[in-house]
Symmetry: C2
Subunit: 476 residues, 2 copies
Amino acid sequence: MVKVRPRLYKYEEIAEEVIHLIKSGTFRSGDRIPSVREMSRQKQMSISTVLQAYYLLEAQGFIETRQRSGVYVSTRIPSAMPEPDISSPELDPGKVSVWQLVKTILRDARNPKLVPLGAAFPNASLLATQKLNRIQASIGRRKREMSGAYDLPEGCKTLRVQIAKNSVRAGCNLAPGDIVITSGCTEAINLSLRSVCKRGDTIAIESPASFDVLQCVEALELKALEIPTHPREGISLEALEFAIQHTPVQACVVTSNFNNPLGSCIPDTKKKDLVTLLAGHEIPLIEDDVFGEIFFTGRRPVVAKSYDQKGLVMLCSSFSKDIAPAYRVGWAVPGRFREQVEWLKYTSTMATATLPQLAIAEFLASGGYHHHMRGIRRVYERNVASVVQAVERHFPEGTRTTRPTGGFVVWVQLPDGVDSMELYKKSLKQGIAITPGYIFSSTDRYRNFIRLNAANWSETIERAMQKLGKCIVELT
Amino acid sequence: MVKVRPRLYKYEEIAEEVIHLIKSGTFRSGDRIPSVREMSRQKQMSISTVLQAYYLLEAQGFIETRQRSGVYVSTRIPSAMPEPDISSPELDPGKVSVWQLVKTILRDARNPKLVPLGAAFPNASLLATQKLNRIQASIGRRKREMSGAYDLPEGCKTLRVQIAKNSVRAGCNLAPGDIVITSGCTEAINLSLRSVCKRGDTIAIESPASFDVLQCVEALELKALEIPTHPREGISLEALEFAIQHTPVQACVVTSNFNNPLGSCIPDTKKKDLVTLLAGHEIPLIEDDVFGEIFFTGRRPVVAKSYDQKGLVMLCSSFSKDIAPAYRVGWAVPGRFREQVEWLKYTSTMATATLPQLAIAEFLASGGYHHHMRGIRRVYERNVASVVQAVERHFPEGTRTTRPTGGFVVWVQLPDGVDSMELYKKSLKQGIAITPGYIFSSTDRYRNFIRLNAANWSETIERAMQKLGKCIVELT
């Protein structure tokens, strides 16, 4: 039944609009709102209609007129809406979409009241924010013209040179022209997928896989074929080969170094075999290397791209995990699909912001990046070890955990009966954020798994791990 | 026939790789390259193999060893590759793809040796780069934590509040929660299209239309249905209605205020009729308002979104034309498709860079934006008038030109026989960049049209217009 509402007078309409703007938070207590004259011109209504509206609003206490200054939202009314609640609502895995859950996890990661074992956000104190902001400020002063103009879709050459140089350590021989700068690794993967697949195609991915990639695959209406993945050695080549022989696979997405959530690192010879296997079927390999620089062993693991003979490997990475998530600078090395990726970049976001690129390029060129990385690798190694030990100490028998040699996430298999969604809700009530295993697969095979962000370590986290252990016991 | 090449020794392979890195510009004259020990570890080859490779490279003059310092690219060899040539190659419309032509036009716009009548880049001296860089530097110091962390997909609330406030002048009553921040207007349009269309769908667009939008439509494998558009009053509603009645249209993309390249501005009542027409068929309207703030008349034209009753209008805009192209900050107001757009944003680029958003928010909140806009509108009005007058003065009889009341592009119809691609090549040789009409349509109906960027005016441009006139005469 449609409610019939009496038609409003013009002035009442204007008054209602202003009230809506105040209630929604667009105009807040003490904000100046358009003057009678401005509003009349904007709405193409007479001065007297607007006057009537404002008179009504003032009578109702919404606005106040200050002599010779203008019209303001009353300071006596409570400032607009309350800030949005960032603690989590009741979530039911049967009813809530994965996207809703992901949104909650991303929000929770920014809530200082929660112990941050949820989203895979880097340790804030291990970023290079201060240094980079300073470099950026300096470039902003020195290179005004350059920092103002649109960049080309492929990105700044100075940054591409630095990335090419740095890739030598990962076993690559890249020219700056091989690289396309993107808005983070997310855009690199998105564009790579779009350049080789179309709606309905099947993509082979690791299982468990990063929920970012799973969501991207779903948004592009691709089908994810989940391949068993070993917690230390990565994707099973036997299973992948079997899959390829039995179903048409358009592309394969793999995090060869420090898979999220497993932390697995594919051994070098196996990387070569992976590239050879896929090349034999002309299947592009999209390689996510976003954690590759955060290694705990003596040597930076090479990327699968280093074995690429046919231009079929599309390397994707970013500076978001090691120095600057908020700068949104990543890159793709798309091999033979370079032109297509550059075109899609142009039609998707035109170009990446210029100043952040220039700042990161300078940070790399000066040696600051390498110095920074040497320092943080050791801290991450310690923190990951601490979290793993806390799992061993506090979680009940039957728990299994990974022992990653890089990155900063730990994947925990809980005793069979424990539902990670229940644990997620229970732990949130205790002020602890974790990530339930459900969202690392499109099936529910990880219902008794959780991922812990091991980027941080402190006594608070120790205590949180203890509480988490108790919650798990209560759920078994 | 495959050339058989003798297999290289291991050390020759390493030497070849280093030479490739030098020739491609990754390592330049004087750059330090990995030490023998580093290279041996990286490549997992013996020290003696690497030594042999480096010995060979030194003998050939590619590298030099400096005692106790390391191995460097020789300073005697010419520094890597020459910088890429940014003047245009010979382009043949029959052979070159539109993307190649667009790339050339974007490159040419950054070439200081060319008179910039080509790409629709704003006048560099009318941007707010210096002020924004300064605000950004200050925020970078004051808000280190915040400027370091991932932003949420929807964007910073402070910026969304400011955009909502500013939209009142365009006739909208928006809550901050209605807005999703994007990486420029390009991303806003891309995500809007993706949220309501799928591959193969038909989209109604203005003709001529911005080549950015045409390229985006092509990249998403949509079909563009070009609707006749009046140079002053915008898209023909009769033609649009006829089209809708005869073919299924999934969405309509319109630049209601100052269409690029026409400069047309749809009158307010017609905007309302457009919204009503589409709403009657439940067709989403994607409204590009990127030039809306650069108006020459007394009042900011309203947006079609202001007449949206059903949440079907998806308003897209950015700060790229008026204050900061290189900051890549835009927004979408997707109405009932908000959730979908936010999700696609997350899967496409995760979030927009934080510092540029905060800087722009502060620029708006302080009133700096309005002050800036008041100043630049007058300059753009003068420059556009100067370019139009120069067309009248120097171009041959039979030429027709638009007289836009906002934005900064002028659309010129040349005498029938003139091929704009020929003119484009001819004028480039004289150091003048223009945009040929071909790329504003997927047909060749604008072969005798050109778009001129009228953002700048100077004696150099006056002389360029004179030369351009002569070129046209020679082609008639």
